[in-house]
């Protein structure tokens, strides 16, 4: 049955026909991060797809993947476009290189997973936390619960990890 829910006042609609996304978000709802592993070439992929982007095989299995990585790039949004985000500026959009499969299958490829910077309980980060994060920051995955059966993956600062002395941030604060 389709999952329809509201997140930050924004309607989300997970359609039954979208079987790969249904499977992906089912794991997220259990605060568990799973990706498809190709049944032929063995590579993981993100976001969920019907076929493998490297070998086109439709065979895959969902496997648990560690939600840890490093900020590859980011944007800090001050002028929100969507009404849902206007009350939460500035917010960060993070593109995170997972440690898993980093630099594979070619040196410039990685599983790059998008998310916002949030608090450990999945709330959009306050401004003082936003200012601590830049390219190179070590982050760990957390989840924002949306509804029974639906949560979306997010990123928070990995306080247990060795952090760069000064992550790279845009020069104008």
């Amino acid at each position: 049955m389709a999952t329809q829910a509201t997140y930050l006042g924004m309607p989300l609609d997970l359609n039954d026909l979208d079987v790969e996304n249904v499977a992906y978000f089912k794991h997220c709802a259990a605060h568990d991060f799973h990706l498809q592993k190709c049944g032929i070439c063995g590579l993981l992929r993100y976001p969920p797809t019907t076929a493998c982007p490297w070998c086109a095989s439709p065979r895959s299995d969902w496997v648990k993947v560690e939600g840890k990585g490093e900020v590859h790039s980011y944007s800090e949004v001050h002028h929100a476009i969507q009404p849902a985000f206007k009350a939460h500026t500035p917010y960060l959009i993070l593109l995170v290189d997972l440690d898993t499969q980093k630099g594979h299958p070619t040196e410039h490829e990685s599983l790059r997973v998008v998310g916002n910077l949030t608090t450990p309980d999945g709330k959009l980060a306050p401004p003082d936390m936003v200012r601590r994060v830049g390219i190179g920051t070590r982050v760990r995955m957390v989840f924002s619960d949306v509804a029974p059966g639906l949560a979306i993956p997010q990123w928070t600062i990995d306080e247990g990890a060795a952090q760069p002395a000064k992550p790279w941030r845009y020069p104008q604060e």
Partner: protein
């Protein structure tokens, strides 16, 4: 000019100099056109056909591009009395112009039609905002958008910023270097009576304008406007009978992609854009290289898109884009001016078509600036590029247009005069 000897092209049968752009036309660049996209498209197509010295009955192909924000080509054709032997409306914005020119060449080459008009009609300010505000901002989030819009990652600026930011990190590109693109395009626009923004801005103005989403300030972003724009493509032979000197098409590459076209984020380096791949088709097809080009039209949805493309098409060394766009090269009077109309940042937002129109006029030596008109009806260009003055490039024989859909997808075209 003397063209280099034949070089290897991608296809064994390239179409270098066999086709021409013979007509260009547009409506006023406004915010609040007071017209339907159907009316805007009709005016633009009519103006382009008239500019070519043709009649609507000479046109038998019509192509358009849109994002559910415009009128289908059959309405425009019917309203102008064009009987198409072929029509097609494709989905998409930036990068469509050059791609459709390539399709028009293919249609004529295949014998399916003889004269093709391409248009883009949009109320980009007063109806459907490209930035995604209004109706687009509140639509339900589903499918692939669960991985993007759910994170407040929706508008073009938000989507592309990760690429822009990483370029600064990888190569030390500085905000003031990129801001020079806006400053220079605004100087060009001040010599373009059609431009929506004719005011000149400085680098400091850009850096002082409010942050939209880092690294973009308000003035790093283009101006959304309402307008119709159109081009007429036909064979080089047929072009001899048209009104203006011929603008010949040397080579086209259409909607060329990086690996993993999903915004290219899985396949890095993300500070490299589609131009790296497109240039391998463009320059061999055109039989020229970046050094042969006199004027560029590098898509300026944002200051950064201009820089990234000029870099990846090879106008400078990889990583030197910031230097290239800020050292005077791309300014009128410089070695290779870019977007002499003011482009999307200042003239108006058309998803690329106005940048091709501008280069056609430049190649005809007929930039519509404020220079005095001679008794033969042609402007006497002064090459005085001060505010309100000339914007014709003095030596202008070969142009390159580079269209941008997103960091992972781009199109390009080289044209020349005779």
């Amino acid at each position: 000019m003397t063209m280099p000897a034949e070089t290897d092209a991608t296809s064994p049968k390239h179409l270098r100099d066999k086709y021409a752009i013979v007509g260009v036309g547009e409506t006023t660049y406004t915010r609040g056109s007071g017209k339907t996209t159907r009316a805007l498209g009709t005016w633009a197509v009519r103006n382009a056909i008239e500019d070519a010295g043709l009649k609507p009955s000479d046109v038998d192909g019509i192509l358009s591009y849109q994002s559910r924000d415009s009128t289908f080509s059959t309405f425009i054709a019917g309203d102008l009395g064009i009987r198409p032997n072929f029509y097609m409306d494709v989905f998409g914005g930036g990068s469509s112009t050059e791609a459709l020119v390539g399709m028009a060449m293919g249609l004529i080459e295949a014998g399916m039609c003889k004269v093709v008009v391409i248009f883009r009609a949009m109320n980009g300010f007063s109806q459907v905002r490209i930035g995604g505000t209004g109706a687009r901002a509140v639509a339900p989030v589903s499918g692939d958008m669960l991985h993007s819009r759910a994170y407040g990652w929706q508008s073009a600026g938000q989507m592309f910023s990760l690429t822009f930011m990483r370029h600064m990190y990888d190569y030390g590109t500085r905000p003031e270097q990129v801001a020079a693109v806006k400053a220079i395009h605004s100087e060009h626009a001040s010599n373009n009576p059609k431009a929506f923004y004719k005011q000149r801005f400085t680098v400091e103005d850009v850096l002082k304008s409010r942050i939209i989403c880092k690294p973009l300030h308000l003035l790093d972003c283009c101006v959304e406007t309402d307008n119709g724009t159109a081009l007429v493509v036909t064979s080089a032979e047929r072009a001899r009978d048209c009104r203006h000197p011929r603008t010949l098409i040397r080579g086209v590459v259409g909607r060329c992609n990086k690996p993993r076209t999903d915004m290219h984020y899985q396949h890095g380096p993300i500070s490299t854009v589609a131009g790296k791949y497109a240039r391998e088709i463009l320059w061999p097809n055109a039989g020229v290289g970046p050094e042969d080009v006199d004027i560029t039209g590098s898509y300026d949805a944002f200051t950064f898109t201009t820089m990234l493309q000029l870099e990846d098409y090879g106008f400078c060394k990889k990583g030197d884009g910031g230097q290239y766009v800020s050292d005077g090269t791309i300014r009128l009077g410089g070695r290779r001016p870019n977007n002499t109309s003011g482009g999307h940042l200042c003239e108006g937002y058309t998803h690329g078509l106005n940048m091709v129109i501008e280069n056609v006029r430049q190649l005809r030596h007929d930039a519509d600036d404020s220079c005095p008109m001679g008794p033969d009806g042609k402007r006497r260009h002064t090459y005085d590029y001060r505010e309100g003055g000339c914007r014709q490039v003095k030596k202008c024989e070969v142009s390159a247009n580079m269209g941008w859909a997103n960091p992972g997808t781009g199109s390009a075209m080289v044209m020349r005069n005779e």
